[in-house]
């Protein structure tokens, strides 16, 4: 293997694949990055057997070949080089990668490329296409609701459903649920339903920044999902199992509906969060209707040891007065990903789910289970 490329390009490529490198693994080769020539490009690959990332870097290839080298070492070295041309060559006998850049040179001992897991890429016929900006927004709205506790692995994933009409992402733990839907530029002809690890979507969001659109493919064995962007590919294993039937949790009616200014509500809740910290994060919302659809919202938090805090907001209210308690962290998590000026909260009674929706057409629903409050 013999090639040359620019330091900036290589450094950028390494940062893209870098997060997929396994940090602790029984397979030494997984803490390496695979470098392989691919026609006139250099292909970089890393995998932790959950997420794999491939990235192509423009290069001048004079001799084909492949090698894996320790990711940390390579990345740190390349990052410290000046922005000039780097010459890479493989000394096959010793499986050592030689790098030269100006007057700097390094030899890095590698592991045979044959040891690296092969990750096959499926045909393109069942592809779906996303606009990157929309996809990023959707990911933001669901991933935080996925469980982090791995004792029930399906809940650490994001349920993803593709239909000819578009895509629906849903994530839930036992206490909240986020569902977001959107039409997409290109949808598959048939319904596909899979669970993607939340980490994979977070990583996708990180590396998809520059691409305009993302193509998604699901392998026919339903064990892998591929996201393809120009010069970058992310492949994720899927979580096996049955996702909870979340649709039936979403209430269809309400007895109280309140609409508040998103920014005001956020501010009141952030304040309450300070006091709720020592009280299981419980915040109380008192929704009081007035004449003509107007009303007040009283947000309060009490810390038995440290004091309390009350805020009052003008809101519009439809229906019954109600007092309901929520985990304030959960409310904040949801409100922080709402970008409309106004937000609605709907509920039936203090023990029914609270439904949070942006006001203004977007297809996003967040459900939070209220807290039981002793009176």
């Amino acid at each position: 293997m013999k090639l040359s490329c620019l330091q900036e390009n290589l450094a950028k490529g390494l940062s893209i694949v870098g997060r997929a490198v396994a940090t602790r693994s029984t397979l030494p080769v997984l803490s390496n990055i695979l470098l392989a020539t691919d026609e006139s490009r250099l292909k970089l690959s890393a995998t932790n057997l959950e997420i794999s990332v491939n990235c192509w870097v423009g290069a001048n290839v004079t001799e084909e070949g492949a090698i894996t080298v320790p990711a940390r070492l390579l990345t740190d070295f390349v990052n410290s080089l000046p922005p000039e041309r780097i010459d890479l060559s493989l000394i096959a006998r010793t499986q050592t990668l030689n790098l030269r850049c100006g007057r700097y040179e390094a030899n890095i001992k590698g592991i045979d490329a044959q040891e690296f897991p092969i990750i096959l890429v499926p045909e393109e016929d069942k592809a779906s296409q996303f606009a990157t900006a929309d996809l990023a927004k959707m990911i933001d709205r669901v991933v935080f609701a996925a469980a982090t506790d791995e004792s029930r692995p399906v809940l650490t994933g994001v349920h993803t459903e593709l239909t000819p009409q578009g895509v629906t992402f849903a994530a839930a733990d036992s206490y909240r649920l986020s569902v977001v839907s959107s039409p997409i530029p290109k949808a598959p002809a048939e319904r596909i339903s899979i669970i993607i690890p939340a980490r994979a979507l977070q990583e996708l969001r990180r590396i998809s920044g520059e691409a305009e659109s993302v193509t998604m493919l699901v392998s026919s064995a339903r064990n892998q999902v591929f996201f393809r962007m120009p010069e970058v590919e992310l492949i994720s294993q899927l979580v096996e199992g049955t996702f909870p039937d979340y649709r039936q949790i979403i209430p269809t009616t309400y007895n109280t509906r309140m609409v508040a200014t998103t920014a005001d509500l956020l501010q009141a809740l952030r304040m309450a969060a300070i006091f709720a910290r020592d009280a299981a994060n419980i915040v109380r919302l008192q929704i009081l209707p007035n004449e003509g659809g107007m009303g007040r919202l009283i947000v309060s938090a009490t810390s038995a040891e440290h004091g309390d805090n009350v805020s009052e907001l003008d809101v519009t209210v439809e229906g019954q007065p109600i007092e309901i308690a929520f985990n304030v962290r959960y409310l904040l998590d949801a409100l922080e990903v709402i970008d409309t000026a106004q937000v609605a909260l709907e509920t039936r009674d203090p023990t029914s789910p609270g439904v949070i929706k942006p006001v203004g057409g977007q297809d996003f629903v967040h459900i939070i289970m209220p807290m039981h409050i002793a009176r």
């Binding site: 004792s151 036992s174 949790i249 299981a280 994060n281 289970m369 209220p370 807290m371 039981h372």
Partner: protein, 589 residues
């Protein structure tokens, strides 16, 4: 895809499916009917008796929306979601991996959340005994006043590890060990439904082997089903489970009864070579030896469960003359003792062989003990060495003597030869008792003569004990029991601690060349006596040898003080640093 394990496929879905636990399922059903559902249950019982299954059924039953008379209906969405493992309102927590206080605090915060789709949020905490003490305390707070929408079900195989405060707040249900019949019943049901063909004896064997656990039985059945091509037969069960061939087991019993050592040794080796599981083999040998014993003392009724072949063989052996019951009891005890060794041995046949040979040797009581104190045996005539002189006073394990042995104890094993002196801290090991009569009698002078050597030797072993011994002196000897007079009560107590006492006894045993035990009393004048007239080494062995290290000095010193060396010195042996051993060799020949 893996085939779902039988025990999962056949997990009970209704209260009626939980076999052998009617006392529990009926109570739960009545509670549900009466609407008196508890908020904290504790399910205890050994593995595979239905705890988790019942917990899930209870979760379905309290939330069932099917409107049937005896919930769960297993049809409504709530039931279905629980069955499919996708309900958000049944939360199974594994206390083993969430055992800390943080996890339980987190749980405490979360129980305030109301259920998403059903009436009750059910928390099943499995292996609850694994929680830390702090976690239990945190859980206690939650159990004290749980929100009305929450039901806790704590499950454990080890209820004795739960604090009383937890126990007292739960309705406790003890799951019974499955009876062989109940297990066989379930196996029959499964086989019929799965289309497995199985011999009735095979079902019985599996049910017996399962030891009361339904899951064990189902696992075994699963394994046999995946192995067999046709009918599951009793012999297949034997092959997979490593059950030894009956004929070889009976050969060992026959060897014991007839004194045919080669027959027994060959049978043991044969069985293990053929793949018999050593512990099972031992278990079977014991079972038939016991049957033989019972037959000898006139118990016919125990033969009912045995194979006709075995009954014939045992009857014949039982009618033999010249085979005392006491010998049989001894054999049973020896084989029983071999148990723990069989498990750990690299060569599991070895403990079995030893048990057999020892059982058939002339009984120990009749064997004179050769001791260094009497001089080395020099003839070529084989003279048995001391057979069991444990260094560490290994108290016999509590389970050592099988019940049968206890029943038959008024025979030669009775502790007739027990030292009549004051009883030691605990009963001496049996072997000691047996050999006590034969042990050479120690004299106080002999012990005192070696006292300095004992103290010196102790230096490299335990300095603290050495210091204690410096302030003690032998005041009496009775049989093997040496009474040490200590200066202070504190010293007496320390020396009486098991580990220190064992160490002193070790050193005394090797120094004096005969098994010794000590007993400590407070007698300050004894120490003064010693100080006044330190007993010189019996023959003026010089202590002025100097060597580079304490350790080397000790090694030499202990040699110098060894009774054999002293014996030789008495006979005019000359000691010099390098020629010590040569000298002795010359003396020996």
């Amino acid at each position: 895809m893996t085939t779902q394990a039988l025990y999962n496929r056949w997990r009970g879905q209704t209260f009626e499916d939980i076999l052998g636990q009617e006392h529990i399922t009926r109570t739960l059903q009545n509670q549900i009917k009466a609407g008196r559902i508890g908020h904290a249950y504790l399910f205890t019982g050994m593995r595979g008796t239905g705890k988790t299954s019942t917990a899930r059924i209870l979760a379905k039953a309290v939330n069932c929306t099917g409107g049937v008379e005896n919930p769960p209906c297993n049809q409504c969405p709530t039931c279905r979601h629980i069955n499919e493992g996708r309900s958000l309102d049944l939360i199974e927590i594994d206390a083993a991996s969430n055992r800390g206080i943080d996890e339980i605090r987190d749980l405490r915060d979360r129980v305030a959340f109301v259920p998403q789709e059903s009436r009750f949020k059910v928390y099943v905490i499995d292996e609850v005994h694994m929680l830390t003490t702090e976690a239990f305390n945190a859980l206690l707070k939650t159990l004290e006043e749980p929100p009305s929408h929450v039901i806790f079900i704590l499950c454990t195989t080890e209820p004795h590890r739960l604090p009383d405060t937890i126990l007292s707040r739960c309705q406790r249900f003890d799951f019974r060990r499955g009876s062989v019949n109940a297990i066989a019943d379930k196996l029959r049901r499964i086989c019929a439904a799965e289309g497995l063909s199985i011999a009735p004896e095979a079902i019985q064997r599996i049910a017996r082997r399962a030891g009361g656990s339904f899951r064990d039985a189902e696992s075994l059945l699963d394994q046999l089903a995946s192995f067999s091509t046709g009918e599951i037969t009793a012999s297949l069960v034997e092959a997979i489970l490593g059950t030894p061939a009956l004929s070889l087991v009976l050969d060992v019993v026959r060897a014991v009864a007839t004194g045919d050592i080669p027959l027994g040794l060959r049978a043991i080796n044969h069985a293990l070579d053929e793949g018999a599981e050593p512990q099972q083999f031992l278990g079977e040998v014991l079972e038939y030896l016991r049957a033989l014993l019972l037959l000898r003392v006139g118990g016919e009724e125990h033969l009912a469960n045995l194979e006709p072949e075995a009954v014939r063989a045992l009857r014949e052996l039982a009618s033999r003359e010249g085979f005392p019951v006491s010998a049989l009891v001894r054999a049973i005890r020896l084989f029983n003792d071999a148990g723990p060794r069989v498990r750990n041995a690299v060569r599991p046949q070895l403990p079995l062989e030893l048990a057999l040979v020892e059982a058939l040797l002339p009984s120990e009581g009749a064997m004179p003990e050769a001791t260094e104190g009497k001089g080395a045996p020099t003839g070529t005539r084989p003279e048995p060495a001391p057979v069991r002189t444990p260094l560490v006073e290994a108290a016999p394990p509590a389970q050592e003597a099988p019940e049968v042995a206890a029943a038959a104890s008024p025979t030669s094993e009775a502790p007739a030869a027990a030292p009549s002196g004051p009883p030691a801290e605990k009963a001496p090991a049996e072997s000691r008792v047996e050999s006590a009569g034969e042990a050479p009698s120690l004299t106080l002078d002999w012990v005192r003569g070696h006292w300095e050597a004992v103290i010196l030797r102790m230096r490299s072993l335990d300095r603290q004990v050495q210091a204690l011994l410096r302030d003690a002196y032998p005041v009496a000897v009775q049989g093997q029991v040496i009474t040490l007079g200590c200066k202070w009560a504190l010293h007496r107590d320390k020396l009486s601690q098991d580990d220190k006492r064992a160490l002193v006894e070790q050193v005394l045993t090797t120094t004096l060349g005969t098994p010794c035990r000590i007993q400590c009393i407070v007698q300050p004048e004894a120490v003064e006596q010693k100080a006044a007239a330190p007993a010189p080494p019996p023959n003026g062995g010089t202590l002025d040898l100097r060597s580079p290290s304490d350790e080397a000095l000790d090694a030499r010193q202990s040699l110098l003080n060894h009774p054999v060396v002293k014996d030789l010195q008495r006979r005019g042996g000359r000691i010099s640093r390098v020629e010590l051993y040569d000298q002795e060799k010359k003396g020996g020949t």
